[in-house]
């Protein structure tokens, strides 16, 4: 064996444990999942029948799934905007000369350390108990009822909670990027008379475009796959009418898939939905990353 070949083998052997784990818990279940989506598997025992594309055809007749799909898109767009705007704003704050900026950094990041379920329950209490009692004592009609049980405001509560949780994490990425920009570039701009706003939009943002690529990717996938806050905060409710059918107003795709599989015990159908979910998310992510990559520049 040549030393080159030997080296390859060593590398492969070092990779093997992780590779085995990856194949066992990601690749194999994934392939099985695709396979089950073409059967009438019920989650127990062996697969009985292949049903072709019946599970997929069923999905397109399912108003609930369509509704989940649309509100997931809406949620994703709103969430990407708010999380990134807030994260960028606070990253500017904590990289400025402001006093106590390290405390702010820690403070903004802490919500991200709390689990989504706990967070959901805490905010549920805030939205359905604390805010209404404040609203009632101030005589504000919009606030005096729970914002969660109102189908028009429930999406706002989810975006608020997710932004509160996730902006601190994205902030870290922006902070790292801002600190990575060479001081000399910023100083040169200042000497040339560029104002604060111009410096941000013309110099900082283009130079940290790679941070936007990764942040937008993270928020896109995170919002699309949102489950824990969804289940704990709203549980998919309240109920609204969609195409004349009672539909869960805030049931995002992941929760819809979970409910199909486990509440209705319709495993194969849930699998088919999950496959579609995977394909759509992959397409969106590829589009987003390609588009963002084209915007990246070198200093």
């Amino acid at each position: 064996m040549t030393s080159r070949k030997k080296r390859k083998l060593t590398e492969f052997l070092f990779l093997l444990p992780t590779l085995i784990a990856f194949v066992m818990v990601i690749i194999i279940p994934f392939i099985f999942g695709i396979y089950y989506s073409f059967t009438d598997w019920q989650g127990t025992g062996a697969v009985s029948q292949s049903v072709g594309f019946a599970n997929y055809a069923e999905i397109f007749k399912d108003a609930g799934f369509l509704h989940s799909f649309l509100i997931t898109l809406l949620f994703t767009v709103l969430n990407i905007v708010t999380v990134n705007v807030v994260a960028f704003a606070i990253s500017l704050l904590v990289t400025s000369e402001i006093r106590g900026r390290n405390l702010y950094r820690a403070g903004f990041f802490v919500p991200n350390l709390i689990g989504g379920i706990v967070l959901g329950l805490v905010w549920q209490f805030i939205f359905s108990n604390i805010l209404p009692s404040i609203g009632q004592s101030l005589g504000l009609p919009t606030l005096s009822k729970s914002l969660i049980s109102n189908k028009d405001t429930v999406m706002f509560t989810m975006v608020t909670v997710n932004t509160w949780q996730y902006a601190g994490y994205i902030m870290l990425i922006y902070v790292a990027a801002i600190q990575g920009i060479s001081k000399s570039v910023m100083e040169a701009a200042e000497v040339d008379g560029a104002r604060y706003w111009t410096r941000i939009t013309r110099i900082q943002i283009p130079l940290m475009a790679n941070a936007f690529t990764i942040s937008l990717f993270l928020t896109l996938t995170n919002s699309f796959k949102m489950y824990d806050v969804n289940v704990a905060l709203t549980n998919g409710g309240p109920v609204t009418l969609f195409m004349g059918k009672p539909t869960q107003a805030s049931e995002l795709l992941a929760l819809n898939i979970y409910n199909t599989a486990f509440k209705y015990n319709n495993m194969a159908q849930g699998q088919a939905k999950a496959v579609i979910f995977f394909i759509v998310l992959t397409i969106f992510s590829i589009i987003q990353v390609t588009w963002n990559k084209s915007k990246e520049v070198e200093a």
Binding site: Q124, S128, P132, K145, S146, I148, S149, T234, N235, G236, G237, P238, V239, T240, L241, P246, T247, Q248, N259, K263, Y264, N265, N266
Partner: protein, 410 residues
């Protein structure tokens, strides 16, 4: 090392020997009453000389694992717990017929299959319209008259008009929110009112129809009116945002005259120290009189046909018909026995009321668990919420419910 193996083997042998020594092995699932049950088993051994061993599996999923392990252990249990039809299907090859047993004459809650009694009811649970006796007395309403829709309509209206002087925030404390996960109250328990109220136990007319996607038009129409009536006199905020705790608190603090929950809430209810008398009134949704609450055992004891059937039947008979058995069930294990011959009363109000109704033989069946998975909570529940939030009226509610039910069949 050899020594260690020897010790382990000896211990293992001794353990097998211990269960082999017992003439009767019981596998059960209620962790909270393990010690009471073992105590009762000891008492049984003193009385009859038959050694009994109780094996407990914690929680419902663990219980299944324990049961499967015990069934394969070479010393099959003689008595084990089944939790419903699905469980029965799994074990039916092993389950013995108990039809001739003495205890059957004292209960209507046996697990019946094709006219044969195959399960001994471990206890019963029940729900109805729990009421605050003090408030009803002040309003001059006799709870015994609440046996028709019209009686409820009049009572609710009267209470509603006297809200201020009675200190009420709402007439009925009821929850229907999907956000708070309370759709089992509406989509399962309340829906069961339509399925069984007024019928003999084991009469499956309406559930059979529902499973075929049909409803009895007249009965269903009346049921929808009843749901609307309850919602009309409930607090809108409680309906949509109420949790199990806030629902209970409103009733326990005297802010609601009625409470739509079952006797499993007793431990929490007693914790809030209600100062008034509490009992159940029927869910009477028809114009005709229906006098009974909805009662069912959560689980049953099945006898293993391959085991010591004779001893097992004797044990169960002793449990149901002796004073010691009654004392164990009511005082020690704090359960509501399913047997009419037991005269002891539970100390907690809702359980006591369930017991009284059961002893009077005025009970209706639970059949909501025969609905397909997710149907009650996931499909019907949201329609109740739409009605509760005022998004639809009762006629639309009826149409939507029928549509949803028609969707079952396909």
């Amino acid at each position: 090392m050899k020594k260690l193996i020897a010790i382990v083997l000896t211990l293992a042998l001794m353990m097998t020997a211990a269960s082999a020594l017992a003439d009767l092995v019981i596998v059960q699932n209620k962790v909270e009453i393990t010690s009471q049950m073992e105590e009762f088993a000891k008492l049984y051994e003193e009385k009859t000389g038959v050694p009994v061993k109780v094996i407990t599996g914690g929680g419902s999923s663990d219980y299944n694992t324990v049961l499967k392990a015990e069934m394969q252990s070479g010393r099959e249990p003689d008595i084990f717990v089944i939790e419903g039809p699905a469980h029965y299907e799994m074990w039916k090859d092993k389950i013995a017929d108990q039809t001739g047993a003495d205890w059957i004459q004292y209960t209507s809650a046996a697990f019946m299959v094709d006219g044969k009694a195959v399960g001994f009811p471990v206890s019963v649970e029940g729900y109805g319209m729990a009421y605050n006796k003090e408030i009803l007395d002040k309003a001059g309403i006799d709870p015994a008259t609440l046996t028709t829709y019209d009686a409820y309509e009049a009572a609710f209206a009267k209470l509603d008009s006297m809200k201020a002087e009675l200190g009420l925030d709402m007439v009925v404390s009821m929850v229907a929110g999907t956000t708070t996960g309370m759709t089992w109250v509406t989509g399962l328990h309340n829906f069961n009112v339509y399925l069984t109220v007024g019928n003999e136990r084991n009469d499956t007319t309406y559930i059979d129809k529902v499973l075929k996607g049909e409803v009895d038009e007249e009965r269903f129409h009346q049921y929808c009116q009843y749901v609307a009536l309850i919602f009309k006199y409930s607090d809108p905020d409680m309906l949509l945002n109420g949790t199990q705790d806030s629902q209970l608190a409103a009733f326990a603090n005297g802010k609601a005259a009625f409470y739509h929950q079952g006797n499993w809430m007793d431990p929490s209810l007693v914790g809030l120290n209600p100062s008034f008398e509490i009992a159940y009134a029927p869910h009477a949704f028809l114009h005709e009189v229906t006098d009974g609450i909805l009662v069912n055992p959560p689980s049953w004891y099945a006898v293993n046909a391959n085991g010591n059937v004779e001893e097992a039947l004797a044990y169960l008979n002793f449990l149901a018909t002796s004073e010691e058995g009654a004392d164990y069930m009511v005082n020690k294990a704090a359960m509501v026995p399913a047997f009419t011959n037991v005269t002891l009363s539970p100390a907690t109000p809702l359980s006591k009321s369930v017991m009284d109704w059961n002893a009077a033989g005025k009970t209706y069946d639970w059949q909501q668990y025969k609905l397909p998975d997710g149907f009650g909570m996931g499909t019907l529940g949201p329609i109740y919420e739409l009605l509760a939030s005022g998004a639809i009226d009762v006629d639309t509610f009826e149409v939507m419910m029928k549509d949803a039910i028609a969707g079952i069949a396909k």
